[in-house]
Amino acid sequence: MPHYEPWSDERARAVIDEFAHLEGPLMPMLHAVQETFGHVPDAVVPMLAEKLNVSRAEVHGVVTFYHDFRHEPAGRHVLKLCRAEACQAAGGDALAEHAEHRLGCKLGETTADGRVTVEPIYCLGLCATAPSAMLDGKIVARLNERRLDALIAEAQS
């Protein structure tokens, strides 16, 4: 399970400063913020804007453009199911339905107890051993109902 730090102004500035020497540093900064705090909090937007000498609207525009950046923290575990064509061809639809049924929430949502966020992902590049999934960064291929159940049990533990 990933561990995130509680929000701190000082820590956020330190994380951002680490990438200030790069050309085009905003994306690496945003990734680092999310890796540190588990999401991209609103409070970081003006900090980035000031650091990079751009408007807050521009930073907000970037944060909201990319699917990876979370506005809210995710559940304790994140289960991503590949929903792209190769996984669909190999039975991914039925597995996605099965996961939604087992977790009691739709793709893109978090279970009521806050334990598991289940999301679609568009291609892990494991298309010859489809369907595939990713649980908190761990990749799993040749997914079937039994393996998916094991992943869900791991996520719910």
């Binding site: 699917h67 064509e85 568009y122 990713m134 291929a141």
Partner: protein, 525 residues
């Protein structure tokens, strides 16, 4: 080779596909079993050979060469030890020499020659297997000579557009700029493609060498590899290799003691498919929304930070070291028509023997799907294959004589794209896939142009009506019209090519859309 101390070398891939199938657990089990047996072993984490249905495929070095076993699960390891696999002993999972396996023996491996054979983190291994021969020759040829060699090879952009690489390089070489860049498009978002991922994980120095040669050719001193957050293993492998190359004087100032300098960084996207479009990628690298730019100006003139930029796909850049090492003509001698050299083709989806198959252009789709891929994994008849990712056409079985060639595919309203083939069996519903194509476009559209942003949303609505059986004939006419607008009016390939999967599905499988079947339509004509 078994060393004198009696240490046996075992290869266990750390390709993401192998890991996802349990390779890490297999490596641990081997280490534990060897310790228990008091047998010293050296476990090398190589890339994948590309026979992905056999992953994790482990190899043991014996007196007769490398002997492979697969697919191995951690639970198989004790049995393998009992069967004497350390000396190539017989076992139900024994494959024999990998290079003699028909799937590999039938290939022409130039770009993937080393992939799965070497330790991807080892500079010495790369050198020992012909690495940096291309760069050495490039240094003797100089910029103009390099571009001439690439021109002779006939190399065309492997990202999908098929634009001649040498022309792009010449344009950047001739452009004036205090700073020029080499950008590698490793944003391999197409479903059914994994060649970029595999080569970055299995032979990352080849990409570094290719980018360095490109840098020397055009006068660029800085390079970026832009890859996907969905590819953490590829990012680790690339970053490690960059570090090792730098430590060996192959990146940085005065590469290999030459007057040329070149360094590079690996950057990660954030889950936006459209960033695989080159100008959106450049904006993303600059720290902006991944919005498509209008062309001109071309990236070759005003690319990254408005500086002259070569932006090439991973497979274009990794073809370069080979072209320089053995000469452009050697490469050009493979292929057909204007499609020269080899293409690493990826066979995926519902297929029995999925994997990476590098071969000269000209092989037919049927050979790839049926003979090499072995048909569907489910055993049901093949219905269609989508070639070229989410923007590629669905090719029906009656067009499987189509040769893998840019022009031949274009003539059938299809595209090779990045060389990915996704196989579907007869249970698939292509109306649903057409709806998915529109939905994917609507989710991933950068929003800059109307045909893509609004058209895809309208496309989803139309497909919902068609699937529900609501005024099918009228709605199909509107869908066809909408596809024309998207095709002709979109700024980039996302909106412009989404009609390919939609219209190919409709034209070949109208019965899935509630229209009369194709045979009936043809008889009526």
């Amino acid at each position: 080779m078994s060393t004198n101390s009696g240490t046996i070398r075992i290869y266990v891939p750390k390709d993401a596909c192998a890991i996802a199938c349990g390779a890490d657990e297999v490596a641990e089990a081997i280490a534990a079993a060897a310790l228990a047996a008091r047998q010293p072993v050296e476990i090398v984490r190589n890339g994948s050979r590309g026979m992905l249905w056999l992953e994790p495929m482990i190899e043991v070095v014996t007196d007769e060469g490398r002997i492979a076993y697969g697919p191995v699960e951690a639970g198989d390891v004790d049995g393998l030890f009992a069967a004497g696999f350390l000396t190539g002993g017989d076992h139900a999972l024994r494959i024999g020499k990998p290079e003699e396996h028909p799937f590999l023996a039938k290939q022409t491996r130039l770009t993937f020659a080393r992939c799965g054979i070497i330790d991807p983190a080892s500079y010495e291994d790369y050198r020992a297997h012909g690495g940096y021969r291309g760069l050495e020759r490039a240094l003797t040829l100089g910029p103009a000579g390099i571009i001439e060699e690439v021109k002779t090879s006939g190399l065309r952009g492997r990202g999908g557009a098929g634009f001649p690489t040498a022309i792009k390089w010449k344009t950047v070489a001739d452009a004036k700029g205090d700073q020029k860049y080499i950008v590698c498009n490793a944003d391999e978002g197409d479903s059914g493609t994994f060649a970029d991922r595999m080569i970055m994980e299995g032979d990352p120095f080849e990409l570094i060498e290719g980018m360095t040669i490109a840098g020397i050719a055009v006068g660029a001193t800085k390079g970026y590899v832009y890859t996907r957050s969905e590819y953490p293993h590829a990012i680790w492998a690339m970053e490690k290799a960059v570090e090792v190359a730098r430590a060996n004087g192959m990146l940085g100032a005065n590469i290999a003691g030459s007057p040329y300098s070149f360094d590079m960084e690996v950057r990660m996207g954030a889950g936006a498919y459209v960033c695989g479009e080159e100008t959106a990628l450049l904006d993303s690298l600059e720290g902006k929304r991944g919005t498509v730019r209008a062309k001109p100006p071309l990236p070759a003139h005003k690319g990254l930070f408005q500086k002259p930029t070569v932006i090439n796909n991973v497979l274009s850049l990794t073809a370069v070291p080979h072209i320089l090492a053995d000469g452009g003509q050697f490469y050009a001698d493979f292929g057909m028509g204007r499609s020269r050299g080899t293409m690493p083709i990826q066979i995926a989806g519902n297929v029995k023997f999925g994997g990476l198959f590098e071969t000269a252009f000209g092989i037919t789709l049927g050979e790839l799907v049926n003979d090499i891929g072995g048909g569907t994994a489910t055993g049901k008849p093949v219905k269609a294959a989508q070639v070229g990712g989410p923007l590629g056409a669905y090719v029906p079985t009656w067009q499987f004589d189509l040769p893998f060639d840019y022009e031949a595919f274009a003539a059938k309203d299809a595209l090779i794209g990045h060389g990915g083939i996704v196989v579907f069996d007869e249970s698939s519903d292509l109306a649903k896939m057409a709806r998915f194509a529109m939905e994917f476009c609507s989710v991933e559209s950068c929003g800059k142009c109307t045909p893509c942003r609004i058209g895809s949303t309208r496309g989803v609505e139309l497909m919902d009506k068609i699937i529900a059986g609501d005024r099918v004939t009228a709605n199909l006419a509107t869908l066809t019209d909408l596809c024309q607008t998207m095709k002709l009016g979109s700024l980039c390939a996302l909106g412009g090519f989404t009609p390919y999967p939609v219209l190919s599905a409709l034209n070949h499988f109208p019965e899935d859309f509630g229209a009369p079947p194709r045979v009936v339509l043809e008889a009526a004509e």
